[in-house]
């Protein structure tokens, strides 16, 4: 702390006036350097989720009410073939920059990671070929298709009612 105070004393006063003083202790990089802490590596499949989905869906698969929650729900879609197709054909999945193989791996990862309990028993992981074929078909209206798929899941007895897979957690939307 003494050396820090000394360093501050030599900073030109003009610089002091412009910038509020921040203790070097508050900069995590200093802690990392001095204490030798390190971060565990993010697996490539997790990195694909982080870069392409996490910003809105959250690092644990849930976020704000405007963004559909993955955690504890997404797996239900795998119970019907329409639902399985829908997960790949949602616009930002379909249009993702990820190649088919990585997209398939990422979907399998997020489904087991965030919604393993809701998966269809004996869930067969997506393959690159399946993802490729599904990506070739675009959904015209994502809201209408989602409603169809969710109604199908209700009829099949997978979920009790459409509210269980509402797009938004905000009541009364979509």
């Amino acid at each position: 702390m003494a050396s820090f105070a000394l360093a501050i004393a030599f900073v030109p006063t003009s610089a002091l006036a412009q910038t509020p003083t921040v203790s070097p202790e508050s900069v995590p990089d200093v802690l990392v350097r001095e204490r030798g802490t390190w971060l565990p590596k993010v697996a490539p499949v997790e990195e694909d989720y982080s870069r392409n989905c996490q910003g809105c869906h959250g690092h644990e698969g849930h976020s704000v009410q405007e963004v559909p929650r993955l955690q504890g729900r997404a797996g239900w879609f795998t119970h019907t073939s329409a639902g399985r197709a829908y997960l790949v054909q949602v616009p930002n999945v379909l249009q993702s920059s990820l190649p088919d193989e990585r997209l398939a791996a990422m979907l399998n990862w997020l489904l087991t990671q965030f919604s393993g309990e809701q998966l269809k028993p004996g869930f067969e992981p997506y393959t690159a070929a399946e993802v490729h074929a599904l990506r070739a078909q675009r959904i015209e209206s994502v809201i209408a298709r989602r409603r169809e798929v969710v109604d199908g899941l209700v009829r099949a007895g997978v979920i009790p009612d459409a509210a269980a897979l509402a797009f938004s957690l905000e009541p009364g939307r979509y």
Binding site: V27, D29, V42, R51, Q54, V64
Partner: protein
């Protein structure tokens, strides 16, 4: 031909013996020889060349601005390779903390920057602090790995206050997500 080879053989033998006798083991020449032999094998070693790859925009940025890890109030602080806005570090917050009176947005976009200290690449969440008038200090314009606005999830020109209680932008923070 054979004579020429014998001559060369003798020449190099004499030279290396003389070097071995006259030059101490810690001499510069012996070090240089080892370094030269080592240098031939160095490019073959299976090290990750991700950071050196010309197409990696994060590495290119780090090189161009001479990225550092000590001053989070400067635009060339390593985590700001894709930060477009006012630095929260200059507004009373930190590189990953919001200044008092503003709240972190629940949504962010995720990019990656190269840490010059350890040469590793880290995922960075660019999270705006919202709910307070904009803090016009330390405007930085990093754009490594950023995509055009029609790919909004990877764009940094838009205000990332989506989902926050207020859409008013205050400043930009850069939190580490993990090492890749």
């Amino acid at each position: 031909m054979a004579k020429g080879l014998q001559f060369m053989d003798r020449f190099f033998e004499r030279m290396s013996r003389r070097t071995a006798q006259q030059v101490s083991r810690r001499h510069f020449v012996s070090g240089l020889g080892a370094a030269m032999v080592g240098a031939t094998f160095l490019p073959v070693l299976p090290v990750s060349r991700k950071a050196q790859a010309a197409e990696d925009p994060a590495a290119a940025w780090a090189k161009q601005v001479e990225a550092q890890t000590k001053d989070p109030r400067a635009c060339n602080y390593w985590r700001y390779c894709s930060s477009d806005g006012y630095l929260c570090s200059c507004c009373g917050g930190g590189p990953a903390t919001c200044p008092p009176g503003s709240v972190p947005s629940p949504t962010s976009w995720v990019g990656s920057c190269l840490n010059p200290d350890d040469g590793k690449t880290y995922l960075i969440a660019y999270r705006d602090c919202c709910g307070k008038d904009s803090c016009p200090k330390c405007a930085c314009l990093g754009s490594a790995g950023e995509k055009p606005a029609y790919i909004p999830q990877l764009n940094n020109d838009i205000i990332w206050c989506f989902g926050a209680s207020s859409m008013i932008y205050h400043c930009s923070s850069a939190a580490i997500v993990g090492q890749i």
